[in-house]
């Protein structure tokens, strides 16, 4: 139990996927413009990421390892993730068209959101147990969402700012992320696996 809690805190605060590990930067830059879409994206990512870890872990442990097919890891993982994303996309389009519109092209981009691929790969590399892997997926996605939502709040305020021309958009967002990353350093060493 303590180890699970540690995993949660470590991957939300210390080893934050966006701010410390650089996974999922594209959607982080793309959909953090508005709070509403950031929250929508966050929910999609939390769902997809947890599911992805679950499925890929099972697949790896019960299919790839027994048959010595570890070298198929990348191919299978990406296929699982791509299908999952497609599933979420078709569902969302029907259930909430407004949310679908807001997320726009970024839903297909979840496929290429390396955070999701990374969480699947890392769960295997870190040799997590099944439960740990799922918790890890959840924590990592929450960490991603936290960074995304904070950034969305900040960017809504930056909309009103008179940012120098050449720094507008991604440049200032990256610098903000940098300072945010510095701020998160405060949690360094607070929890260790």
């Amino acid at each position: 139990m303590e180890r699970l809690l540690t995993i949660i805190f470590v991957y939300i605060l210390v080893e934050n996927f966006v701010l410390h590990r650089f996974f999922g930067i594209c959607p982080f830059l793309g959909v953090s413009r508005k709070m509403e879409t950031a929250i929508g994206m966050s929910m999609a990512v939390v769902f997809v990421m947890t599911m992805a870890t679950l499925v890929t872990w099972l697949l790896y442990s019960f299919v790839l390892v027994p048959y010595n097919l570890e070298y198929l890891q990348i191919v299978t993982f990406i296929l699982v993730i791509a299908s999952l994303v497609q599933l979420v996309e078709t569902t969302l389009r029907k259930i909430s068209p407004t949310l679908y519109q807001g997320l726009g092209i970024f839903l297909p981009l979840i496929t290429t959101n390396c955070a999701i691929m990374a969480v699947a790969l890392l769960a295997v590399r870190e040799e997590f147990t099944f439960v740990e892997a799922v918790v890890f997926g959840l924590a990592a996605s929450i960490g991603f969402s936290l960074a995304l939502v904070i950034m969305a709040g900040i960017r809504e305020r930056l909309e009103l700012a008179e940012i120098p021309d050449v720094l507008q958009g991604p440049a200032v967002t990256l610098i903000t992320a940098g300072i945010l990353s510095l701020a998160f350093l405060g949690f360094g060493g607070m929890f260790t696996l």
Partner: protein, 323 residues
């Protein structure tokens, strides 16, 4: 009726208070004067030089960036520079001060469009950049040990650990000593007395809201009493210890109250103060770093837009049906 010039037409009100951004910043500088004075008295001429370098660098960098001749301008750069100097150890090399001050102004402020638009407290951005860049000059055993009232003493030869680094050692300092400031630490943070005087001035002038420093200090005190471990005589004293040791005072009075980077709603300010206190104590008690105020405030700065949005006050006579 003969009127030579034309009349001015504008929207009401037609009178304005004499207060301006410049006058507010000047007031903050005045409020920082006791702390700066104590820094010089305690840490000697190095403290003065560090402050001058930091302030000048900040003002010059901002003037160059804005292409303005008037280097004092609205005074905000000078405030940032002085604040940064006060949270540096007195023995820090001059070039560290220059880099820190320039980063504070550029990365902490001008990148976002200058005064009014920055998300993070510029002085703290400057400091945290220095901490990760040259940790050796900024932390651990480099905290300067003061030689009270020995102006001309070279502080760089004598350094000691901040009391927060080893609480066991801290017991050798009495609370009055900590209150006056004759302990190791950053040059402007050790004297709670001087900082409080500045704080009272700012409250008197109406520039800071008691909710932020109040919430901050109260949270630190309460958490210090409850979780501090009571190493400092008793639990109550431990709470007080956490208040006067390290950077809580300067952070609560001068850093967390920076207008631009903190919430504008009354409720939001209270939440902000409490949040700062919470994260500070989290880092102090369970983290690996000895001090957490810098990170605490930066994190709360990041949350400020969200806090602001969730704490919009009801209007006078407003009915309680949340819109």
């Amino acid at each position: 009726m003969i009127i030579n010039g034309k009349l001015v037409v504008s929207s009401s009100p037609h009178i304005r208070s004499v207060e301006s951004v410049q006058s507010v910043m000047t007031d903050v500088l005045i409020a920082l004067f006791p702390a700066a004075l104590m820094a010089v008295l305690l840490f000697g001429y190095r403290a003065l030089i560090t402050m001058i370098i930091a302030v000048l660098t900040a003002m010059l960098v901002e003037a160059v960036w804005l292409r303005k001749r008037d280097i004092f301008n609205d005074g905000s750069a000078a405030v940032t520079g002085l604040l940064l100097a006060l949270i540096l150890p007195a023995a820090v090399p001059w070039w560290v001060v220059v880099v820190g001050s320039a980063s504070a102004i550029i990365i902490g402020k001008q990148v976002f469009g200058g005064i009014g638009y920055n998300i993070f407290n510029p002085a703290l951005v400057g400091r945290v950049i220095l901490v990760v860049s040259w940790g050796g000059h900024m932390a651990g055993d480099i905290w300067s040990t003061p030689h009270p009232f020995a102006f001309g003493f070279d502080v760089s030869t004598v350094t000691g650990a901040t009391v927060l680094a080893s609480p066991e050692k801290a017991v050798t300092f009495s609370l009055p000593e900590m209150f006056i400031g004759t302990i190791a630490g950053s040059m402007g943070e050790t004297s709670a007395l001087a900082l409080l005087i500045g704080g009272i001035w700012l409250v008197y002038k109406g520039h800071i809201d008691y909710r932020i420093p109040g919430g901050f200090m109260a949270t630190v005190f309460v958490l210090g009493v409850v979780f501090g471990g009571g190493f400092y005589g008793n639990h109550l004293m431990t709470g007080l210890f956490h208040l006067v040791a390290g950077g809580v005072m300067i952070a609560a009075i001068f850093m967390a109250t920076d207008f631009v980077t903190t919430p504008v709603t009354p409720g939001g300010r209270l939440i902000f103060g409490i949040g700062c206190g919470l994260i500070t104590m989290l880092i102090r008690l369970w983290g690996t770093l000895p001090e957490g105020v810098t990170f605490a405030i930066l994190l709360m700065n990041a949350l400020t837009p969200i806090i602001d949005n969730f704490t919009i006050p009801r209007q006078f006579g407003g009915v309680n049906n949340s819109a």
